[in-house]
């Protein structure tokens, strides 16, 4: 090893830039002291290079490592052995390596680790910007590699940047082929991802005010693309959880083994709904919620994705949704569920709070029931009550006290969907009709650019399900009785001008939806993001197979490796073609063309002209190998040299003619019989013309 080796300045700067680029985005997740340590190590490295500081001694190195290690453990102790701690250690390792980077092999290690860090970035974020960032990072790291290995006068920033960019661009076709074709294997182990404490979206309990607060958020909840025509807006009820336990103020899920993913997996519930008519199939990509349930339209059947359905027809995942989740369902709009209501479910659907202070409401329910012919008539009367009394649908309902149902129904009469759904179910249960609250989303915005529907947090909704003998569960939406346009046109149309709507979203583009071009831009951007998620991020084994079946038909699985090999070979041969062709080839004069054709003929005889071999040398070689051709070869060569290199003016028409004739004669002698016939025909043809 060369003890005098000095890491080139340019390579060092490239490496530091690459490291900064790779580490910085992750910095937001990491504690501040690590950032300081990273910058400190980089600064030290620069000082070492400038000769202002020396490499750290053994003692200092040990001190740094054995301080940073416990600090890291301490920092992440609450999360156990998690990804964050591991990434943090890796980053520290890389920046410490900077301090003892003396030889070429050290800097190569750092460069390789920078590539690894780039890949790790994808564990945290898989959006388009992070993809672009990774491409940029790879380009810069490659630039560092180029600059390290290029040891000549061309080693400057511009040349290295250009070469690195070239390399990255050239690798794109192969990357695409590998991405599409390499068999997708399920991970052997799963990464314990840190779970953010805050959850988003609809929660598993409902207190008045909960859902209306979601109305302040314009964040995306999920995106749906339908196979075929999307159902009309008023049928887009994205059913989430069933809340059937009321404590007088808040609606809860009743705790039950029904809701445990593993139990449902092992003992799938019987007594499924009875579908009628044709289902509509759709594909959902859901934003992370940190919750374990997903949304679909009743009555749903899971066609793809690790999702189970519980006894209440809610859909669940095994683990909290920390990354975008994709699943496929099909739903029937006409169905019967629970024609036989089991006793346990019935008693839950009739549960009333133990200390019930909503006496007025109970009295109203009894009064209305007494006036009704049957249960169905009673429901109609209750809905009419909402419609005819001065109820208001608002995003900013007044706060309610202890007897929330009474206060809402008789005093404030201003509420959001949770108020209506909650009071409606209470009124049902008060007269012994099984009913329950359902929370989820309603509606969505259609994006024509990529043909899908976007559902936002402000689409959060609550409605009711009432059980009738012979009918099963029937959906009623009391909000529709108060604000029909909420159901037919969507929450945006109702609240567009109401204070508080999308308030938390700041200058979200959603707020400018009335400006035509901005709205178009917003929809386009979302369409791009959706396509990215649908085709890139969630490209898995199933999608791959589907895609390949489209390409190759039924036996796609077996052609996978074949396609992989072929496309790799194709890419390499294209690259080889450009490399071997040696760049530009300008148009040549007729004499050279003729001469090269002769060389090609001779090559077919086993006497190819070597690269860089001049005409005289070639002639001498051919003459030596084939004495019978020597004479005419020499005359052709002499004529050619005269034509091509001779004094100007000598290349007269007569000389050209002579060259053509001699060349023709020689080629005829050289050529195989079959090709000779072809050549004669061609020349006869050209003479005629």
């Amino acid at each position: 090893m060369d003890v005098n080796y000095q890491i080139p300045r340019l390579a060092l700067l490239w490496v530091l830039a690459a490291l900064l680029l790779v580490i910085l985005p992750g910095m937001l997740r990491l504690p501040l002291w690590i950032l300081l340590l990273v910058l400190g190590c980089m600064g030290w490295r620069l000082l070492i290079f400038a000769g202002r500081a020396s490499y750290p001694g053994k003692l200092v190195k040990a001190l740094i490592v054995f301080t940073a290690l416990p600090l890291t453990v301490l920092q992440f102790r609450t999360q156990g052995v998690g990804l964050d701690a591991a990434v943090c250690l890796l980053i520290l390792g890389v920046v410490f390596k900077l301090l003892e980077m003396q030889y070429k092999r050290d800097i190569v290690i750092v460069i390789v680790l920078a590539y690894v860090l780039t890949m790790i970035g994808f564990i945290y974020s898989q959006t388009i910007p992070s993809g672009l960032h990774a491409v940029l990072a790879v380009a810069v790291i490659t630039g560092a590699l180029v600059s390290l290995n290029r040891d000549n006068a061309r080693n400057n920033f511009r040349n290295n940047a250009r070469l690195a960019a070239q390399l990255v661009l050239q690798s794109i076709p192969l990357t695409l082929a590998l991405f599409i074709l390499v068999p997708r294997i399920a991970p052997l182990w799963t990464m314990p991802l840190p779970v953010p404490s805050s959850t988003t979206g609809v929660t598993d309990e409902m207190t008045p005010g909960d859902i209306s607060s979601l109305g302040r958020s314009a964040e995306l909840a999920f995106r749906v693309s339908f196979d075929g025509e999307a159902p009309s807006h008023d049928r887009l009820y994205w059913r989430g959880l069933v809340l059937d336990f009321f404590d007088g103020r808040t609606w809860h899920r009743s705790g039950s083994t029904f809701l445990d993913y593993g139990m449902i997996r092992r003992y799938p519930s019987e007594n499924r709904g009875v579908p009628q008519g044709d289902p509509v199939a759709y594909d959902v990509i859901m934003e992370p919620t940190q919750q374990t349930w997903v949304y679909g339209m009743q009555l749903a059947e899971v066609t793809a994705g690790e999702i189970v359905q519980d006894r209440n027809y809610s859909l669940h995942t095994a683990t909290p949704i920390t990354q975008r989740l994709r699943y496929q369902l099909r739903s029937w709009s006409a169905f019967h569920t629970d024609l036989e209501l089991p006793r346990a479910l019935r008693s839950r659907a009739l549960q009333m709070p133990e200390e019930d202070s909503n006496t007025q409401s109970a009295a109203l329910a009894r009064e209305l029931r007494a006036a009704s012919a049957d249960d169905m008539d009673y429901v109609t009367r209750v809905l009419r009550h909402y419609r005819e009394q001065p109820f208001f649908y608002t995003l900013n309902p007044p706060l309610l006290g202890e007897a929330s149902i009474d206060e809402f129904l008789f005093q404030t009469r201003e509420g959001f969907c949770e108020h209506y759904a909650g009071s409606f179910v209470y009124l049902m249960r008060a007269v012994g009709i099984p009913a329950r609250v359902v929370v989820g989303y309603h509606g969505g915005e259609y994006n024509r650019f990529e043909d899908y529907t976007m559902v936002y947090q402000y689409n959060a909704h609550a409605w009711a399900e009432v059980w009738f003998e012979g009918e099963g569960w029937v959906r009623f939406d009391p909000t529709g009785a108060v604000a029909p346009e909420r159901i037919s046109q969507g929450v945006e149309a109702v609240f567009a001008n109401q204070p508080g709507f999308m308030e938390d979203s700041g200058f979200s583009m959603m707020r400018f939806r009335d400006t035509q071009w901005l709205n178009t831009l917003r929809l386009r951007l979302d369409a791009i993001d959706y396509a990215w998620n649908r085709w890139v991020v969630s490209y898995d084994q199933d999608l791959q197979l589907e895609f390949l079946e489209d390409l190759f038909g039924e036996n796609a699985r077996s052609s996978l490796l074949w396609a992989l090999g072929m496309s790799t070979a194709l890419i390499f041969s294209v690259a080889a073609f450009f490399l071997l062709r040696g760049g530009q080839r300008q148009l040549r004069d007729p004499a050279t063309r003729g001469y090269l054709a002769l060389a090609a003929d001779l090559a077919a005889m086993g006497l190819p002209r070597r690269t860089g071999e001049g005409p005289l040398d070639y002639c001498a070689r051919v003459s030596a190998e084939r004495p019978e051709l020597a004479e005419s070869m020499q005359s052709v060569t002499m004529l050619y040299v005269q034509l091509c290199y001779g004094e100007q003016g000598v290349g007269s028409e007569q000389l050209r003619q002579e060259f053509r004739m001699t060349l023709q004669t020689l080629r005829l002698r050289v050529l195989s019989r079959a090709r000779r016939a072809g050549l004669v025909a061609v020349s006869a043809f050209s003479r005629q013309r």
Binding site: N152, T611, P615, Y645, E647
Partner: protein, 305 residues
């Protein structure tokens, strides 16, 4: 003219056995009006060749043996106070000759080496503020040992660039070797070389070379060669325009020596290694010193058409 060149080649060939190609290159270099650098191991006949070249042209020549303590003034000359006239009078150094044989040029220090710089490029020297013209023609034939040998100062690139060609000699083939051994003892064969060319031939040759025609195809070829040295990572840096001009100069003379009024690719290929190798440096060799075999590679990678 051709016959006289051939006679000169034969004359030198009788001294430097079995090295016709090197002799022709050396003649080509001098006929192109360029300075010649002969690099090889000790005892390969560098000095013999240089001597023979000087004699075959019948030029007024001087040999300077470069040593590590040689100073610029030893070459260029000094002004000495003349007590009789009471004035300083200039005593020209050995450089004021038509042909200088700079023996073992890399044994001396860079300071002395660079004293040759102005002389070689401008044909003049400046001593004590006064510029003096050198005789015309002015040739430097330098010999040097391979740089890796002990006690040598590698010539700086700026100095190397001023030599039109650098040639090696190489071991003689067995037949020449045998002949050499048989006639061993006849000391200083260089002294036997008779004059075959003269200054007028040189002038005439230069004039004739200028009229050798270079076709566009040939210039394309030369440009491709030059571009290759600049684009490819095989080379530490590309060939300078002066290098490119040197290639053309040598090519023209070579064509003429072959008895042609036009240059062909083979002419370029014949002179290229000698003309460019000392101007190039391998790309993988950061502080590299030579471009050995680089030119050969260049020729085999760049096509003629």
């Amino acid at each position: 003219m051709d016959q006289r060149i051939q006679a000169a080649v034969n004359e030198i060939g009788a001294v430097l056995l079995g090295k016709e190609r090197q002799v022709r290159l050396a003649l080509c270099c001098l006929l192109s009006g360029g300075h010649l650098l002969i690099e090889d191991l000790l005892g390969m006949g560098k000095t013999t060749l240089a001597h023979a070249l000087a004699r075959v042209f019948g030029l007024d020549f001087n040999r300077i043996q470069f040593t590590s303590d040689l100073l610029p003034a030893d070459i260029l000359g000094v002004s000495i106070f003349d007590q009789q006239s009471g004035r300083f009078s200039f005593h020209p150094g050995p450089i004021f000759r038509q042909m200088i044989l700079a023996d073992e040029i890399n044994r001396t220090t860079p300071k002395t080496q660079s004293a040759l710089l102005e002389a070689m490029e401008e044909g003049q020297v400046t001593v004590e503020g006064e510029t003096r013209r050198l005789p015309s023609p002015f040739f430097v034939i330098a010999t040097q040992n391979p740089v890796s040998l002990a006690g040598t100062f590698p010539l700086p690139e700026s100095q190397l660039d001023r030599f039109l060609m650098r040639i090696g000699i190489g071991y003689p083939d067995p037949r020449a070797e045998r002949q050499l051994l048989e006639t061993a003892g006849e000391r200083d064969r260089g002294e036997l070389v008779r004059q075959h060319l003269n200054v007028n031939d040189l002038v005439e040759m230069r004039k004739a070379a200028a009229s050798v025609s270079l076709s566009p195809q040939l210039l394309d070829y030369i440009q491709r060669l030059i571009a290759r040295t600049r684009d490819s990572d095989d080379f530490h840096f590309g060939l300078s325009p002066r290098g490119g001009i040197a290639v053309v100069r040598a090519t023209r003379t070579w064509a003429l020596m072959e008895g042609r009024q036009h240059a062909i690719p083979e002419d370029v290929q014949a002179v290229l290694p000698a003309v460019v190798e000392h101007r190039l440096r391998s790309g993988s060799d950061g502080e590299g010193r030579s471009g050995n075999a680089l030119a050969q590679r260049l020729l085999s990678e760049v096509d003629v058409f």
